[in-house]
């Protein structure tokens, strides 16, 4: 196990290095002079020069690259051009907001997706199965930002049950938080629910065909135990594997969803930085999210290897 951990840790270092390199390169992709673009048309040459200097764009390429890494190693991700504040500070301030909604969406995904998939598999080829799978397929195909708008029209404008936007801190008012985050969490979770229901169904069908299930049934165990104990454990394995993908999709969706619901999280920070060309925030935000995902995936892999000895001994990549 220790060898596996060490191997995985070492293997993630070059990937992490490349991730930082990609984030750095984004600024180099900007056609023309980023300083002029950021400063706007009315800017005086002195202002442009100030921004150019602030971003280090007046330095040669290798100096820029070197100082990018020197800053990273000191934990400095840069300064926002608009807010004039340290980007990492702003991100960490907004992290609990995005994180709490992501967890809520993840909870909904696992609860609904898993349950729907299991029910569909147990009732294979019945009307229930077809209904669940149709809904799952539609869920996978709905654009989340459009779904969010439709939910607002229905639940906020027509019915008036839930607020159409805004955020309430869960440490101050849990009920308010729940009301504010339900529509965003549902719009974020829809895609993943469908995805998970589909994966769970196909895995469950495969597991139900295994010999140990037949043995359990032959022993005369009730269906509840066969499914709840013997089958479910094995269905959970692929569920854990797609967790990384699910998290990545949740973070992807948060830019649009947080913008629509005006939630002050990392997603809306990125959303507003794009339009105002606040490149340091975009760079740092991307780097932060990717690094977090890498670490989470690493953690998932390690837990997975710990649970399933077959992975540790070379079957996994």
């Amino acid at each position: 196990m220790l060898r596996y951990v060490a191997h995985r840790l070492l293997a993630s270092i070059p990937v992490l290095f490349l991730v930082t390199l990609i984030s750095f390169s984004l600024m180099q992709l900007v056609p023309g002079d980023p300083a002029i673009l950021i400063a706007g048309l009315q800017a005086t040459p002195a202002e442009v020069e100030r921004i150019r200097h602030q971003l280090g764009l007046d330095q040669p390429f290798h100096v820029q690259l070197f100082s990018w890494y020197a800053h990273l190693l000191r934990g400095e991700l840069g300064t926002s051009l608009l807010l004039g504040r340290d980007v990492l500070e702003v991100i960490l301030e907004r992290l609990p907001v995005s994180f709490s909604i992501a967890l809520y969406a993840l909870f909904l995904t696992v609860l609904v997706g898993l349950l729907a998939g299991i029910v569909a598999a147990l009732r294979q080829n019945t009307l229930i199965d077809q209904l669940v799978m149709t809904v799952a397929l539609i869920g996978v195909s709905l654009p989340n930002f459009w779904l969010a708008l439709m939910l607002i029209v229905l639940f906020a404008v027509q019915l008036g049950w839930l607020p159409s936007g805004g955020y309430v801190d869960f440490r101050q008012d849990l009920w308010g938080w729940l009301r504010a985050t339900t529509l965003p969490a549902v719009s974020l979770a829809m895609l993943q629910m469908g995805l998970l229901a589909r994966i769970t169904r196909s895995t469950m069908l495969e597991v139900l065909r295994q010999d140990y299930i037949r043995t359990a049934r032959a022993k005369g165990l009730p269906q509840r135990l066969v499914v709840g104990k013997h089958a479910l454990k094995n269905v959970m394995i692929p569920v854990v594997t797609v967790l990384g993908i699910v998290l990545s999709l949740l973070l992807s969706g948060s830019v649009v969803i947080e913008t629509i619901f005006s939630i002050p999280g990392i997603g809306s920070l990125l959303g507003s930085s794009i339009l105002r060309r606040d490149y340091p925030v975009i760079q740092a935000g991307l780097l932060f999210v990717a690094t977090m995902l890498l670490l989470l995936n690493l953690l998932v892999d390690l837990v997975y290897a710990w649970l399933d000895p077959r992975i540790r001994y070379g079957r996994g990549e």
Binding site: P14, V15, L18, V19, L21, I22, S23, L26, M27, L29, V30, P31, L137, I138, V140, S141, L142, P143, F145, W146, L149, M150, I152, V153, V157, L195, R198, I199, S202, T203, I245, S248, L249, L251, S252, G253, V255, V256, T259, I260, L270, G271, I274, L275, R277, Y279, I282, Q283, G285, L286, V289, A290, T291, L293, L294
Partner: protein, 295 residues
């Protein structure tokens, strides 16, 4: 009968017969047919857009603003009195063109990178770590980052989405190349002195097509969806060029008084993606039954 027993992969009539069975099985796949139906509606709208549109999608007519859908204006009109029907149909054209562009770039670069990594083992580690790094970023976030840097526009959206999805395609091609390269017929070709290029192009890649085709169908669906997100955020084609994403973004401002402005382009988008997902599911069931739901 005798020829059947000896049919080799190079026997053209056998190849044709096999293709025919694939087609027949696809035509028996109910959901595939539903997907084909949905997608062909959108495809027809895109191909014959100029015949279907009577009013220029950018013609402003303030007198006619916010007309609800009805007999005169099929899909209603927007805040400038522009015909929503014209704009949605024109949007179909751009959406499919962008999706297709991403698919073509993906097919070319994904196959190339995947084949190189899978076939030449010395390149594998380097190429795959680079792919891993790209895949560490959430899809939309990286696409947003790239388009934010390159500037808005449909060409830049295609470039960004191709860059984001290519590593995923490369990984799938690599996985099948790894399997195929160990087959006896590849060894036979090598023993006969075939060059690497010939082995790859004639023996390995043709046998990796099935998962690639399935993957590209899904990439098409994701690209259409992601492009809509980018143009919703103002990073796609710039207004007044209509895209489904920017029509929804504009309609959002009038969602209370004119909900059809967001409803209709969203439905068109969902129909396209659903159609492509069904096509992909059908193709996977028929071409590559061992592949399970991924991504």
């Amino acid at each position: 009968m005798a020829s059947e027993a000896f049919a080799s992969p190079f026997d053209r009539s056998a190849v044709r017969r096999r293709r025919f069975t694939t087609l027949r099985r696809l035509l028996r796949h109910r959901l595939f047919l539903v997907g084909a139906f949905l997608f062909s509606i959108v495809l027809a709208a895109a191909l014959f857009a100029d015949l279907l549109i009577q009013v220029d999608p950018n013609r402003i007519s303030i007198r006619n603003k916010f007309r609800p859908p009805g007999t005169e204006w099929i899909f209603g009109t927007d805040n400038f009195g522009r015909s929503q029907w014209s704009r949605v149909v024109k949007g179909a054209q751009l959406s499919l063109a962008i999706g297709f562009g991403v698919v073509v770039l993906n097919a070319v670069f994904g196959t190339m990178l995947g084949a190189l990594a899978g076939y030449f083992r010395s390149l594998d580690n380097l190429l795959m770590r680079i792919m891993d790094a790209f895949m560490a970023f959430p899809v939309i976030l990286l696409a947003i980052g790239i388009t934010a840097a390159l500037g808005p526009g449909s060409i830049n959206a295609v470039i960004a989405l191709a860059a984001v999805y290519t590593p995923r395609t490369a990984r799938i091609v690599r996985a099948s190349v790894l399997v195929v390269r160990e087959q006896a017929y590849v060894e036979a070709a090598r023993a006969m002195g075939a060059s690497h290029a010939r082995i790859l192009l004639r023996h390995v890649l043709p046998n990796c097509m099935a998962p690639l085709i399935v993957q590209l169908t899904f990439i098409f669906a994701y690209s259409v969806l992601s492009e809509a997100v980018l143009s919703f955020l103002g990073l796609g084609a710039e207004p007044p060029t209509p895209t489904w994403g920017n029509i929804i973004a504009e309609g959002r401002l009038y969602i209370r008084e004119a909900p059809w402005l967001t409803l209709i382009p969203g439905l068109a988008l969902a129909m396209t993606v659903l159609g492509l997902n069904l096509l992909g599911d059908g193709l996977r069931d028929v071409l590559d039954p061992r592949l399970k739901v991924q991504q």
